[in-house]
């Protein structure tokens, strides 16, 4: 699935990463706890989170996430956006809550990280 499809399924805004819309993403994981993300993350993951500070981007960078989707209409803070630009990690914001965002992506065939 491309990032563009993910953007459409989640009716998300792209905050950074227009150039990455054709990037392919095969699986996703969701958590607000960065230690959990560090424990289950795999390279190439799409990270869904409600945590909007710089640690969300740093964690995504450490686990080599493909992109981040902030749920429930949250927008990351300035520092996080700057860091995402520096690291080349696209970030999106979706109005959907975490459960629905994950459900929508899963029902469209995007696998969970544990299935990879």
């Amino acid at each position: 699935m491309t990032l563009r499809e993910i953007k459409e399924i989640l009716q998300a805004e792209i905050i950074y990463g227009d150039d990455h819309l054709e990037d392919k993403i095969e699986f996703a994981g969701a958590s607000d706890l960065m230690s959990d993300v560090l424990a289950f993350g795999k390279p190439g993951i799409l990270l869904l989170t409600g945590l909007t500070n710089a640690q969300s981007v740093r964690t995504a960078d450490i686990i080599e996430a493909k992109a981040i989707v902030y749920v429930r209409g949250k927008v990351p803070d300035k520092e996080a956006v700057e860091m995402a630009k520096n690291k080349g990690i696209p970030i999106l914001s979706s109005k959907h809550m975490m459960y629905k965002a994950c459900g929508l992506l899963y029902s469209h065939g995007l696998l969970g990280v544990s299935e990879i």
């Binding site: 706890l33 960065m34 230690s35 560090l38 450490i62």
Partner: protein
């Protein structure tokens, strides 16, 4: 042999994670195997966050030989009373501020241990904590 010492300031949440990001970049430049870099970066990040969250100050000393990568993480702070308990997944003494950062889920030390090839921890209450985290470069773990 490559050696570098990074200072970590306690409670400096604004810069939390900077050291790990630098370490990841250094290891990439040197050309360490990407799966090892990933495990090392996760361990360094968790260890750095622990110093930021709980200690007054600390340092992470990176040493690299052809065979192994070693992080020595030493802090001055309250120390850990019960290490066995601290090593349990889910056990945490984190404050609300730490949880707001996305940390304090009680996964830090277990995550470090899981990612390392060798790990040991010692602590003196009222003084501080010492971690030794080792990755072997010439073999793949598990």
């Amino acid at each position: 042999m490559f050696y570098q010492c990074f200072e970590i300031e306690g409670k400096d949440f604004g810069n939390a994670g900077n050291v790990s990001t630098q370490i990841k970049e250094i290891l990439q430049e040197i050309g360490i195997d990407p799966p090892i870099i990933r495990r090392a970066a996760i361990a360094a990040y968790e260890a750095e966050m622990n110093v930021v969250m709980y200690a007054d100050r600390g340092k992470l000393i990176l040493s690299l030989t052809p065979r192994k990568l070693h992080f020595k993480v030493e802090d001055e702070g309250p120390g850990i009373e019960d290490i066995d308990l601290a090593m349990q997944e889910g056990y945490s003494t984190a404050t609300e501020e730490m949880r707001e950062m996305g940390f304090g889920a009680g996964m830090g030390l277990p995550n470090i241990k899981k990612n390392a090839d060798q790990f040991d921890i010692s602590s003196t209450v009222g003084k501080g904590t010492l971690l030794n985290i080792v990755f072997f470069l010439d073999q793949k773990k598990k």
